[in-house]
């Protein structure tokens, strides 16, 4: 399903308010959150009005929205100003900028140790091999499965979580 506002990106969040609800993509949701926190809008109707095609600032906002990281809401100007990315996904979203910095720093590919390999091996174990210690990992996997709408996988993970919480190994 596409975002109810920009109609370009897939839905990542559902905003429920007294005025009704809206399915939004990550970028539109982050922008909604930031504008609301800044007091620029009161609720969803204000937000949707901003993007109404008859609103003169619509074109500008939609254009700049392309430059906002859908995960954390950081824009390219902020990255350039602070020389800091906003989250790990910024490195994908602003990959041109990341590549530019990488080249400036020598552009040498990292060939050191990736400590996640051992960890990744553990993460790829069967659900039945997971123990109570793995509950945080299972909770993450459950969220991922739900986000990706993999319902049967989510159900299986949820079942294992309930078993472990119920004391069954």
């Amino acid at each position: 399903m596409l975002c109810g506002l920009c109609k370009k990106r897939p839905v990542e969040a559902i905003v429920k308010t007294d005025e009704g609800s809206a399915n939004l993509c990550g970028a539109c949701f982050q922008r909604y959150r930031l504008l609301k926190a800044a007091g620029e809008i009161e609720g969803l109707s204000d937000y949707f009005y901003m993007f109404d095609e008859f609103n003169p600032i619509t074109a500008y906002l939609v254009r700049t929205s392309e430059m906002v990281c859908p995960s954390c809401g950081t824009n390219l100007n902020a990255i350039k100003k602070d020389y800091k990315f906003g989250c790990s996904k910024c490195y994908d979203f602003f990959s041109d900028q990341a590549d530019k910095y990488f080249e400036e720093l020598g552009g040498q590919e990292y060939k050191g140790r990736y400590f996640g390999y051992e960890s990744k091996k553990k993460q790829s174990r069967k659900l039945s091999e997971m123990t109570v210690d793995d509950l945080p990992l299972l909770m993450r996997k459950l969220q991922e499965a739900r986000d990706n709408q993999e319902l049967s996988r989510a159900q299986a993970i949820d079942r294992r979580i309930q078993q472990l919480k119920g004391g069954k190994q």
């Binding site: 906003g86 790990s88 720093l105």
Partner: protein, 343 residues
Amino acid sequence: MNIQDVIVSSRIRFARNINNLPFPHLLAGNEAKLQEFLNTVQNVCASKFDSDLYTVNSMNIGGNLYEGAGDYILTMLVENHLISPALGRSKLGGAIISKDKTISVMFNEEDHLREQCILEGFRLKEAYERLLEIDLALHDKLDIAYKKGLGHITACPTNLGAGMRASVMMFLPALDLGGDLRRLIKKYAAEDVTIRGVYGEGSEAKGFMYQISNQAAVGWSEEKIIAKVESVVKELCQLEEQARRAIWDRKGVNIEDQIMRAYGTLLFARVLGSDEFMINIANVKLGVGYGLLKLDIPSINRLIPKVLPYTLSVKAGKKLSPHERDIMRAKIVREALLACKTK
């Protein structure tokens, strides 16, 4: 000259971030995820070492409310190299510090995690191995951000790659006084190794203590970083030894007089200022290096952070005036020097 006359301590630091959580400067508004992250970090640390938790501001972690540590405690931790000065500016920051003060896991400094292991002497590899154990446990429980080619993902691109800094704290009075250090700083900077004063830039009045560490090392492996820093440290040890010999040849009895006066001051002073202590303790350490004084250098190195201004106030349990601190410092130094005599 013994290597321990020159090398004070070795430190390894890892910068790590997790996926699906904005970097610390954008964390506000993500309290639920932050809470989960901090609980996991705290549980991992608790499984690996006994620790104390300090937060910059009041925070709820694992269902427990932690009062902000306050400026005195935070500055004391900075003086002891257990946290960075930048952590004090982080609203959601804090640190989990092992009881033996060798491990520190800072959270929400510039990156989600800054893990460090600091050991006395020249033990970079051992510090690395010890920290690795904690880092692997964190990798098991957290979704650590990593991208092929770039390496470990960090808020600032300069820390990409291994996300690792290897540092060695060195006592380099002869190179500093002889004027060679400025040239060496430039030389090693070109090789991506930085030399800076531990207690402030241009720190000749602050004990001639310098930190040697890798600069931006994007693409470097952990082994390469350690090998590079180790080779520069070994070179500096040799150069320091040569410079000390040159000073002795040039000054002879005058340097001996300077050292013995410094030792006398520290043994008999009843009011001892911070700068005065730093200058004199540096002379005393030099005296041990020349074989003029029989004192245990590691004990002296442990003494230095103990008599820094905020550390003294925390030890006293109250805010001390500068004069009260100077009196307390004189007493501690006197007792410590008498206790660290060797045969």
